[in-house]
C-alpha cells in the first residue's frame, strides 16, 4: 500500500515542482505571487492524517529548499512546511466541517499559507535572512494571501482528485 502511494505521489510532487519552477516562476506577479507547490502541499495536508501530512510537508519543504530562489539556509522551508503540514492536519483532520466542504479547505489553505510565510519571516530573522522593510513584508504577505485566495479555488478540484487517486479516499470535491 505504502509503495503504491509513494510511487504515485513522488512523480506528482516532482511535476508540481517543475510547474512551479518552469512556469509560475516565469511571471513576476505583483504582490509576491503564489507558490503552487505550497498550495498543493497544504491542500493535501488538510485532507490527510497527521503523519502523512507531516511527510507531505517535509517533501514539499525539501523541494522548496532545492529551489534556486530559496533565500534562507537549506532546511528552513523543510522545517516550516513540516510543522505546517502537521499542524494543519492536526487541526483539520477528522473535522467534517473543514473537510466536507470546499470553502473550509480553501479557508484553511489560505490561512495556513499566510502563517507559513509569517513563520518564514520569523525564522529568517533568527537565521539572519534579509526580508526587506516591515512595510514591504506586510505588502508581500497581503499580496500572497490574495493570490492564494484567488488560485486555491481553481486548483482545489485537481488537487483533491490527485489526493483521492493516491490515497484511495472519497475526498474529491
Amino acid at each position: 500500500m505504502l509503495t503504491r502511494q509513494l510511487s504515485i505521489a513522488t512523480p506528482i510532487f516532482v511535476l508540481i515542482y517543475v510547474i512551479q519552477e518552469a512556469v509560475v516562476s516565469q511571471f513576476r506577479l505583483p504582490g509576491g505571487g503564489f507558490s503552487i507547490l505550497m498550495i498543493f502541499a497544504l491542500t493535501w495536508a488538510v485532507l490527510s492524517e497527521t503523519e502523512v501530512a507531516a511527510v507531505i510537508g517535509f517533501a514539499a519543504g525539501f523541494l522548496m529548499d532545492l529551489s534556486q530562489s530559496a533565500g534562507g539556509p537549506f532546511g528552513q522551508w523543510t522545517l516550516i512546511m513540516l510543522m505546517a503540514g502537521y499542524a494543519i492536519s492536526y487541526i483539520g483532520y477528522g473535522d467534517d466541517n473543514v473537510r466536507a466542504n470546499a470553502t473550509g479547505i480553501i479557508f484553511f489553505v489560505v490561512v495556513a499559507n499566510l502563517f507559513v510565510e509569517i513563520a518564514y519571516v520569523a525564522t529568517g530573522a533568527l537565521l539572519g535572512v534579509s526580508v526587506g522593510s516591515f512595510t514591504q513584508v506586510l505588502i508581500t504577505l497581503f499580496g500572497m494571501s490574495i493570490w492564494a485566495l484567488l488560485v486555491s479555488p481553481i486548483l482545489l478540484p485537481v488537487f483533491t482528485r490527485l489526493h483521492a487517486l493516491v490515497f484511495d479516499s472519497r475526498s474529491a470535491l
Binding site: 518552469a22 517535509f58 530562489s69 522545517l79 529568517g124 526587506g132
Partner: protein, 305 residues
Amino acid sequence: MRNGGRARLLLVILMVTSLFLITLDLRGVKVIDGFKQGSQTIMSPFQRAGSVVLTPVKNFFSDVTHLGRTRNQIEKLEAENANLKQRLINRKNADAQLKQLKSILDLAGTAGYKVVNAKVISNGSSQSFSQTITIDSGANAGIKKNMTVLSQYGIAGVVKDVYPSSALIQLASDPSFRIGARIAGSQQIGILTSRGTRSASLQLLDNSTTVKEGDVLLSRGSIANRPYVPGVPLGYVTGVDNSAGAVAQTATVRYYTNFSTLGVVAVVVSGSTANPGDALVPVKPRVTPIPTVTVFVTPSPSPTK
C-alpha cells in the same frame, strides 16, 4: 487520536532531519550545495523551455499591467490593422532584447569591461522574500560567483550561484543587497542599501559632506573588481533626509534599472584596467527646440483685367 504516538515520533524524526539540514547548510557543508546544483542542472532546460513558450503570455500580461500608462499608445495601435499589430507583438520581444543588448554593449564598451551576455530564463519566486533571476549562461561561459551583472541602464545585480549552464543573479533590488556607492562629480562615498523595491537608501560615510536631489550614483568598486566593478551607474537621488541629529546624511535613491523588464543582461567577467571614473554617467536628455516657421504673406494687388 489514532496512532498519535507514531505520528509524534515521525514528526520528531523529521524535525531533527530538518534541523540537521539547516545546521549542515549554515556550516557550509558541500553536500547541500551539491543538492542545489544538481537540482538546478536538471531544472534549467525546463526553465529555458518555459521561457520560450511563455514569452507571448508574459508580454500580454506586461501590456495589461502597463495599460494605464500606455493608453494613448494602445489607442494608436488599435487604429492599425490586425495583421500589422500581430507582427508587431511578435517582433516586440526580439526588438526589446536587441535594444537592451545594444545598450549593455555600449555601456560595457565605454568602460572597457569584458562581458558575457545572457538571456533571463526565470524570475525567482518572491515566496522567500528574495529577488533573483536565472540566466542561461553559467560556468561553461566563464561566469563565476560574485561577478557584477549589468542591465542596459547600469547595475542589475550580482552573481549569487553558478551552475554549468545557468546562473542565479541576486537583483540589486533584493533586500539584502548592499553596494559601495560614489556620487559622480563630488566623489563622496556611501553605502547603498536596497529596500526590496526599485528605490534604495544611501548612507553617506562622511558627516561633513552633503548630497542633493538629482545626484548620480556610481559603484565604488571592489578589490580585484569582485563583486563590483567600479563606475557602474546605480541610480539617482530622489530625496534627501535632512533630519537633525543624524550622524551622516541619508538619501533615497531610485535605481536606473527597471528590474521587472529585464530580458537580457551582461555579466562582467573582467573589469577594465583603469577606473572608468564618471565616464558612464547617463547623459541627461536635452530639450530640442522645435523650430517655428513664420510665413509672411503680402497680399497681391487685385488682378487686373
